[in-house]
Symmetry: C2
Subunit: 273 residues, 2 copies
Amino acid sequence: MKYQELVANIKKKKSFLCVGLDTDLDKIPAHLKNTEYPIFEFNKQIVDATAEYTIAYKPNIAFYECYGVKGWISLEKTVEYIRTNYPDIFLIADAKRGDIGNTSERYAKAFFENMPFDSITVAPYMGEDSVSPFLGFNNKWVILLALTSNKGAFDFQYNKENDEMLFEKVIKKSATWGNEQNMMYVVGATKAEMLSDIRKLIPKHFLLVPGVGAQGGSLAEVVKYGMNSDCGLLVNSSRAIIYADSTEFFAEKAREAAKEMQLEMSGYLSRLG
Amino acid sequence: MKYQELVANIKKKKSFLCVGLDTDLDKIPAHLKNTEYPIFEFNKQIVDATAEYTIAYKPNIAFYECYGVKGWISLEKTVEYIRTNYPDIFLIADAKRGDIGNTSERYAKAFFENMPFDSITVAPYMGEDSVSPFLGFNNKWVILLALTSNKGAFDFQYNKENDEMLFEKVIKKSATWGNEQNMMYVVGATKAEMLSDIRKLIPKHFLLVPGVGAQGGSLAEVVKYGMNSDCGLLVNSSRAIIYADSTEFFAEKAREAAKEMQLEMSGYLSRLG
């Protein structure tokens, strides 16, 4: 998907919601467990219920990989279903991959050619040649980890060299490897106050913001410090939407939760004009 | 596998060779391509030919993931075959995973429960709670990226805070999360001169050393600066062994290449007594 298409979808749907498909077999409603691919069945119903309010879906690959071949089939079926039925959805493989050049290229093929993802999250530790192979695909995106939403973010991401923190160095350096048409950054909502400094480094790039809701981040704060004139935000919610309810009404409740977030987002977007 | 078993295997086989199973469908001999799982067939013959000289096998997961479900099946068949036929082999999932706590736990289950790997490579950027879930499994290991063998290693790993480089901070901090019985570190052979400094920080931990051979690192240098009294090294070779030959004699040639490395290693080990 091109940058301008993404922005147009956000304006059309009045939403910058990303729904995290972190689907846990232990948490899905009992009546789905007898189907052949319960995770796919769950995802399908969640997607059908929430797509109207959603810009992006983000399956976290760990939740599929942990079920082996069957998990992998569920992932493939999920992204195929979304791509076919909701072609305007931006698909994010939350995989946090990254390896030496020829190996990163394999990961890129896995998610960009073998599956129809638009983007993949990538870990920066191994540097440029671990990231750039993902940038060689038309209309595909790298979403690079910058400042994550977890406690461990404080271990290394704030490492300071000459008054520059590691996550700032990651952003500055990597911004020269691609541009705002093929790179985004992960910045956790739990670090919303850092967003205004980050916006000085990368005013135009989209930011993927996890951590709103279950992890304690505030949408209002994220918007206040992180929104730009094209919106520039994809705010993720996983558990608060997909596990809004654990009964046979789970999809309807997920729809309500997504709609509520979209309504709040629509208010913020209207200020952009 | 326990630390003492690994050391005993090294002494018994007089080898600290790890063979990287980075199996590329485009590079395997033509006569294997008509089988149902050509990658597994190739791996099986490589393993049968080289296991006598080998301590560890390390499939890089990208090389399987890029073929989707079929690749995943080939991976599962490969590790199952090795675990069943060569129970003294140390199995490394070169996956470079790492995510927030509950998600890293999923990756741990994928490789430690769903598959019989002994260890997994993990990326440190997200800090303690992204690494520690992998440490909660008996006799399983984290192999943490410290100083990698690629060019991009220079982008962030040498980031300096108060005279301490990032890879040193990663080693020092993470060494308190586990111990030498459940953690190893990746240190590229192309950075062999750094090994003596690293040994001051972690005298007892095993180091997984990629980059000998195709990437230009020297085994003699790695041993000189990195070996400890229990050996403390697993030196990986991928392409130089598995693609030693591209004809129907590939397995025999791989055997010769592995034997040659083992012979050199046996010389270094004999000095330990």
